[in-house]
């Protein structure tokens, strides 16, 4: 295969399909992954190719879905479990954090739990407080869980392929606002190293560190800022565990300014970690504190106006940079 243009959704399906063709031990398990084809269509028609024993529709039992995936992963299968919304992760946190994440450690390294938990999060569909969250912070705070959050079509494919090869449990969070996004991917090209951030834009004035959909907001903001004479670099973390500081450190040291952009709520979340970490690593080079542009510390409303403004927007990113004294207002 050469480079193809496709959507984030189809790139995900391609990754799942190829892995299932290559390895009989890969199974999909979750609500509506089979006959329905996935709530967001990612697994469409896969049950027809792979059958109901490998594409497993479940009852609405999130805790046991994750728990069954744990047991399957310990006994020879490579389960890709699906949580329809990351908002449901709360009911699975015991199986995820007390079982999947700790089994290798508690049992002294005897065995791992090579499973992927695919899910999706974020705002954008007026889906309300229980279907619009960005809960990667819970996952990132749990040692033992890898965490991947693709922002691009190419990463939808490659990160998912890589996630399915990890020896440890990976939580793989897609963004509901990206499924129909188009982009290019070369499935045969060697992917970027797992755990390595991608520099999507260079820029000498400021480094914006982000992941998932907010990467696109950051890029849009950077474009606008460029027209105002400010050059912002944009880094897509791709994975939050592992977390790549080797890429970020020299960039921030050079620019002297960093902003982190995350859709998760600000307090005690991913943005806090990134800000604390960048500060630790680059303290002497920083001209300002690392700027946290993150989700508001509130639930998400169904009202589209409130929903949109409950998480960072390109406007907020631009306005913040202007406040630094860079750009238009400067």
């Amino acid at each position: 295969m050469a480079t193809i243009e496709t959507t984030y959704r189809d790139a995900l399906r391609l990754a799942l399909t190829e892995a299932m063709r290559e390895d009989d031990s890969v199974i999909l398990i979750g609500e509506e992954v089979g006959v329905y084809g996935g709530a967001y269509g990612v697994t469409k028609a896969m049950i027809e190719e792979f059958g109901a024993h490998r594409v497993i529709d479940t009852p609405i039992s999130e805790p046991a879905i994750v728990g069954a995936a744990v047991g399957a992963a310990m006994t020879g299968l490579r389960p890709v479990a699906e949580l329809m919304y990351v908002d449901f992760v709360g009911m699975t946190m015991d199986q995820l954090a007390n079982q999947a994440a700790k089994i290798r450690y508690m049992f002294g390294g005897q065995i791992g739990v090579p499973m992927v938990l695919r899910t999706q999060g974020g705002t954008g569909r007026s889906a309300g407080a229980q279907h619009s969250q960005s809960l990667e912070g819970y996952v990132m705070h749990t040692p033992g869980l890898r965490l991947a959050m693709p922002a691009t079509v190419a990463d939808a494919y490659h990160l998912l392929r890589q996630a399915m090869r990890q020896p440890d449990p990976v939580v793989f969070i897609e963004h509901k606002g990206l499924y129909t996004m188009k982009g290019e991917v070369d499935p045969d090209a060697p992917p970027a190293e797992w755990g390595r951030a991608a520099v999507l834009r260079e820029g000498a004035d400021l480094v914006i560190v982000s992941y998932s959909r907010q990467v696109h907001y950051a890029l849009a903001a950077a474009e606008r800022l460029a027209s105002e004479g400010v050059e912002a670099a944009v880094v897509d973390l791709r994975t939050l565990n592992p977390l790549d500081f080797d890429t970020i450190r020299p960039m921030v040291e050079a620019a002297g300014r960093a902003m982190v952009v995350s859709e998760g709520v600000m307090t005690s979340g991913v943005a806090a970690e990134l800000a604390a970490r960048i500060t630790e690593e680059c303290f002497d080079f920083l001209e300002d504190p690392v700027l946290r542009v993150a989700g508001e510390d509130i639930p998400i409303s169904v009202s589209p106006l409130l929903e949109t403004n409950s998480v960072p927007t390109p406007d907020l990113i631009v306005d913040t940079v202007r406040k630094i004294g860079l750009g238009a207002a400067a």
Binding site: I60, R125, Q130, L291, D297, P299, V302, S303, L316, K323
Partner: protein, 345 residues
């Protein structure tokens, strides 16, 4: 129940049930319209068409002061318990004039004054709250019953069994109503469990439990009356109501996973037309009278759409409100924090 009608009408239970069921159905049809007109907040709209007897039959058996929670397909239940269609539709449209000021939407409608402790977008999420309400009723001696409404899909959720067990153990005034429309999204009940006789599970936990055919709203109401009276006396129950989900799971789902024949057959199980036919056949109401009633209801629900469309989105200032109680400081907006941080010198 809040409906304003002018024409004299037969004073029978079935007629009242028909009227309420028709109101539910028409309301739901209008929700569909709202969506098509691009006026709903999002597409996560779950219509209860085909399930009206559950809402109305059980709703009629409840008393003022009784409380309840619903699942995501709960418009009809709330209507049957006295909701104003205007404020419901406005909430579904995400407007400030809605029951929750536009923050909740279709899946999070609630109204404490009518005992509605809340719809829920988490399958099973609202069930344990009725155990708590049952504890309140017991400890405070209110004499009220609390009813959990949920779908067959929620029987996959462990929290249901935890709740059933507690209610039975503590003999709480609770009723668990499972609206079995045969589907959880695209999964028919026989692909979700090896034993679809759902009430047997509740019986095994020590609740009085039964299944009733939702085609007859009168049967539903009879069962609910008995079981609510029992619950009020400290004998909690589980009532499964068999029905059929006429349309897709949510607005965009066309149910490709169902054979046409199945849908056609399923829609025969129509409690609204069954009630209508019975009213006419038994001479309790004339076709003309019912047509007139339907028109009245059409007008009422058209009004709800107009009300919703005329509403405004909640103001930005509402965004930081209600995270904590009035009087508590609101969370600091990100932009305010950033301004503060950057304005330090």
């Amino acid at each position: 129940m809040a409906t304003s009608m002018t024409a004299p009408r037969p004073n029978t239970r079935l007629y009242d049930f028909y009227r309420e069921m028709r109101r539910v159905r028409t309301f739901e049809e209008r929700v569909g319209e709202l969506f098509v007109r691009g006026q709903s907040a999002g597409s996560m709209l779950h219509l209860s068409i085909g399930e009206e007897s559950a809402a109305v039959g059980v709703g009629a058996a409840m008393q003022a002061g009784d409380t309840f929670t619903t699942h995501h397909r709960g418009h009809g239940i709330f209507l049957a318990r006295g909701a104003e269609p205007d404020r419901m539709m406005a909430e579904i449209a995400g407007k400030e004039s809605g029951y929750c000021g536009g923050k909740g939407g279709s899946m999070h409608i609630a109204d404490m004054s009518l005992g509605h402790l809340g719809a829920n977008a988490i399958v099973g999420g609202g069930i344990p709250a009725v155990v708590g309400a049952g504890l309140s009723a017991r400890n405070l001696g209110t004499g009220t019953v609390s009813v959990a409404f949920f779908g067959d899909g929620a029987t996959g959720q462990g929290i249901l069994y935890e709740s059933l067990n507690m209610a039975a153990l503590w003999q709480l005034p609770c009723l668990f109503v499972c609206i079995n429309n045969q589907y959880g999204m695209g999964t028919r009940i026989d692909r979700a469990t090896a034993n679809p006789n759902l009430h047997e599970r509740a019986a095994a936990f020590g609740l009085s439990a039964r299944t009733v055919d939702g085609l007859s709203v009168e049967d539903v109401a009879d069962a609910a009356e008995e079981m609510i009276a029992d619950a009020r006396a400290g004998r909690p129950g589980f009532l499964a109501i068999d029905c059929y989900r006429f349309f897709g799971h949510a607005r965009k789902d066309k149910s490709p996973y169902r054979a046409d024949g199945e849908e056609a057959a399923g829609r025969q199980k129509d409690p609204v037309s069954a009630a209508r036919t019975k009213l006419i056949v038994s001479g309790l109401a004339s076709v003309e009278a019912l047509d007139a009633l339907d028109k009245e209801i059409d007008a009422e629900m058209d009004g709800a759409i107009d009300f919703a469309v005329a509403g405004t989105e909640p103001p930005m200032a509402a965004m930081f409100r209600d995270v904590y109680a009035p009087g508590e400081p609101e969370p600091e907006p990100v932009s305010a924090r950033l301004s503060r941080v950057l304005a330090r010198d």
